[in-house]
């Protein structure tokens, strides 16, 4: 069992967990993830390590309650435990000095992107951070991002903060202004990462995306996370999660993400039904 040391509710639709996992905290690098199983009958899900503290032996993950597992996890609090945490998995993001790096995060990606953005900043890059949400209250880790970014761009769908629109609109602005970007890093929902890759392609800006497909073991065994990148079959858990966004076969990836949608719905409905019965 892995103890939850602290929790926070950074936005109304997300929850942050600091989990006691000293071995993972000691070795985690930007871009890596863990696989978590909440309880005995639970499924294994991959979650990006949003932060880690080797001294205190904790890792931080941020979860948006969408399906059964993320909801179950979101009901836990400090002092509770999760059944399994394993990692750090995947290859660490290759950090280099490129020049100007634009990191763009949507949804859970706003937090998942943070360690990567920080590492690029520490490597001497000029960092432009772009985060966005439906409205101001849903922006994740704006303050932390602001601390490290040379330039901060915020978008909200309703215009309650920053530019009205989506994160990709802010990216379009930057490119339309003719500003030179040496690398774009996108972390978030697949649909957003695909849009980012499509926007940067004509500009020839190298674009790195962090993929989060269906995964079970996370160690290269099941092949559930396979994607086609540059015409080759890759396993996200051992060859990724970072790939060249211009090379990813997005349609295939998006289709694969729907494989278990009906089952996910059944699981969630059953869970909600049980939750209301016991309430």
């Amino acid at each position: 069992m892995y103890r939850i040391v602290a929790t926070e509710v950074p936005t109304p639709n997300s929850k942050l967990f600091m989990i006691d996992a000293p071995r993972i905290a000691r070795r985690a690098k930007a871009g890596q993830f863990v696989v978590i199983r909440v309880s005995e009958a639970g499924e294994r899900i991959p979650l990006t390590i949003a932060d880690h503290d080797p001294e205190n032996g904790t890792i931080t993950i941020i979860v948006q309650a969408i399906g059964k597992t993320t909801r179950k996890l979101s009901e836990l609090n400090a002092g509770d435990s999760v059944a399994d945490v394993v990692g750090p998995l995947g290859l660490a993001t290759e950090i280099e000095k490129y020049g100007t790096v634009l990191c763009i995060g949507g949804g859970f990606g706003m937090a998942a992107m943070f360690p990567v953005a920080q590492a690029f900043k520490e490597a001497g890059n000029k960092l432009i951070a772009v985060i966005g949400a439906r409205n101001e209250s849903l922006l994740l880790w704006e303050d932390r991002m602001r601390e490290i970014a040379d330039e901060m761009l915020i978008t909200t769908d309703d215009g309650s903060k920053g530019r009205k629109g989506m994160v990709i609109d802010a990216l379009k602005d930057v490119l339309a202004e003719g500003r030179k970007l040496d690398l774009v890093v996108a972390v978030g929902p697949v649909i957003m990462m695909r849009a980012v890759a499509n926007i940067t392609r004509p500009y020839g800006v190298k674009t790195m995306v962090s993929l989060n497909p269906i995964m079970i073991d996370g160690t290269g065994m099941c092949g559930g996370c396979r994607v086609t990148v540059g015409g080759e079959q890759r396993f996200v858990c051992v060859h990724g999660p970072d790939f060249d966004g211009h090379e990813v076969a997005w349609d295939e990836l998006m289709a694969r993400l729907t494989i278990y949608q009906p089952e996910e719905k059944v699981a969630l409905e059953k869970y909600q039904c049980e939750a209301c019965k016991s309430a």
């Binding site: 750090p88 079970i216 073991d217 694969r256």
Partner: protein, 471 residues
């Protein structure tokens, strides 16, 4: 002259019933059957059966005790060489190993050694397992990576020799392929669990959720006081055919399919959270044990039609004979001399068919088996909505990726000496599928056993005074 008594048949669940449940197929001998079968053994002075066994089980000895009704000593004889007999008795390919060497096989049917092994092991299980005497503690620490058959065997042998053994397992459950791969109807989970409990009872510590190469690496293990490391990491990355359409929805590696069902208990969804997708018409590519398992699991999940597609002929089928027979009895269909050329999908990205080509057998290839060659004009489409690819695995890349100085072969297998398991790194041994590529439980156990002997020798040859100098 009286005829030699025939081999005792194994009682099994009725095929029509068992094809819809996950209970064990083979029910095991009754005590009377076991004794009758044991009496068929003629107790050869020079037992050839032992030479067919990768761990050299004292076969005639345990059978003799069984015949005489002395079960405690049968257990002792059996377990002097084999730490996991209840597992071996169920999943070993005895027909190509010990039983193939049995003298009775020359004129009739061999002694059913595997079934007797299972009987003796199950008897012990029902009595409560007794812990054998261990040698005095040496205080030497050994790390075993992977808790599959190779790792469990090496761990048990080293613990019996008095060493302090820790197993590091990547998954949340120990057992490796015994837990995630082989389905419960062939190897019930309580059997695996009690064999693992036995290994624990020898003082072996099992740490789950540790991925060596990620959570810790091999160099770190040495700095944390381990003097020897055994890598039994198993087969990893599933292989795919390399034909178009393989990433369509509805195409699964056998590993994914079996991991969902066996490890994550997807057959109990939504009681358990992990789902599994099964179509009405399933095509399983390949004809090894894993393919048979995937086909038979598909039936049990409710598939209406399950077809094994295999590019060679029946004679080349690599699966254990008994599993082939079981699969057939349960209603699995076989399309032999058939190779898939493309997976066909609909506009939503789901599988709707498997384009296949008929094959002929040509000259033998490097494996000694006749090479399948395409038969012109024999293309056809198999109507299917799920495809399970069971054509083998490549070794897991995580340890070679993270361990400098560990030599690997061209397919990513760890290079290790066949008789000792020694790798290119001092203090590091390896065995099982990680070295050989996908093979059998018993060959992995054999490798674990040989490595344990080599590690023991290494440890006793290293006096404590030398420790600081060597590393």
């Amino acid at each position: 002259m009286p005829l030699k008594p025939e081999r005792q048949p194994m009682p099994v669940q009725d095929p029509g019933v068992r094809a819809r449940n996950f209970d064990e197929v083979a029910l095991g001998y009754s005590p009377e059957q076991a004794q009758a079968e044991a009496s068929r053994c003629i107790q050869c002075k020079k037992p050839t059966c032992r030479m067919g066994c990768p761990v050299e089980v004292e076969i005639p000895q345990f059978i003799k005790h069984l015949r005489d009704g002395d079960l405690p000593n049968a257990v002792k004889a059996l377990k002097s060489k084999n730490n996991l007999p209840a597992i071996c008795g169920r999943v070993c390919p005895q027909e190509t190993q010990c039983e193939a060497q049995c003298i009775l096989a020359k004129k009739g049917t061999s002694v059913a050694i595997g079934r007797l092994e299972r009987f003796v092991a199950d008897w012990e299980g029902s009595q409560g397992i007794t812990v054998p005497e261990l040698l005095p503690a040496t205080g030497r620490k050994v790390a075993i990576v992977g808790s599959g058959p190779a790792g469990l065997t090496a761990a048990a042998d080293l613990a019996r020799l008095g060493h302090s053994v820790t197993i590091f397992e990547a998954l949340h459950v120990p057992g490796g392929v015994l837990s995630y791969g082989i389905p419960p109807f062939r190897l019930p989970r309580d059997v695996t669990r009690s064999e693992i409990d036995y290994v624990r009872s020898l003082g072996v510590e099992i740490q789950t959720n540790w991925i060596v190469g990620k959570t810790i690496d091999v160099e770190e293990m040495f700095s944390e006081g381990f003097e020897a490391v055994f890598l039994g990491t198993g087969a990893g990355l599933p292989q795919f055919m390399g034909v178009p359409g393989e990433n369509l929805n509805g195409v699964f590696s056998a590993n994914e399919f079996l991991v969902r069902v066996n490890l994550m208990k997807a057959y109990l969804f939504p009681e358990y959270d992990t789902p599994v997708k099964i179509g009405k018409r399933v095509a399983v590519i390949g004809a090894g044990n894993v393919a048979m398992d995937a086909a038979r699991v598909s039936l049990r999940l409710g598939a209406e039609q399950v077809t094994i597609v295999y590019r060679r002929s029946e004679a080349e089928i690599p699966a254990r004979h008994e599993e082939l027979v079981n699969a057939r009895e349960e209603g699995v269909a076989f399309k032999l001399l058939t190779a898939p050329t493309r997976v066909l999908g609909n506009e939503k990205g789901w599988v709707v068919g498997l384009e296949c080509q008929g094959m002929d057998l040509g000259e033998p290839d490097a494996s000694g088996r006749r090479r399948p060659v395409p038969k012109p004009g024999s293309e056809f489409v198999l109507d299917t909505d799920s495809v399970i690819v069971a054509i083998g695995t490549s070794p897991n890349p995580l340890i070679p990726q993270s361990t400098k100085g560990l030599k690997t072969g061209k397919h990513g297998t760890i290079v290790a000496d066949e008789s000792t398991g020694a790798t290119s790194m001092e203090g590091v041994w390896a065995g099982g599928d990680a070295v050989t590529g996908a093979a059998t439980v018993i060959s992995a156990m054999g490798a674990g056993k040989r490595a344990a002997a080599a590690i023991h020798e290494y440890l006793i040859s290293r006096t404590p005074a030398k420790l600081g100098l060597l590393r």
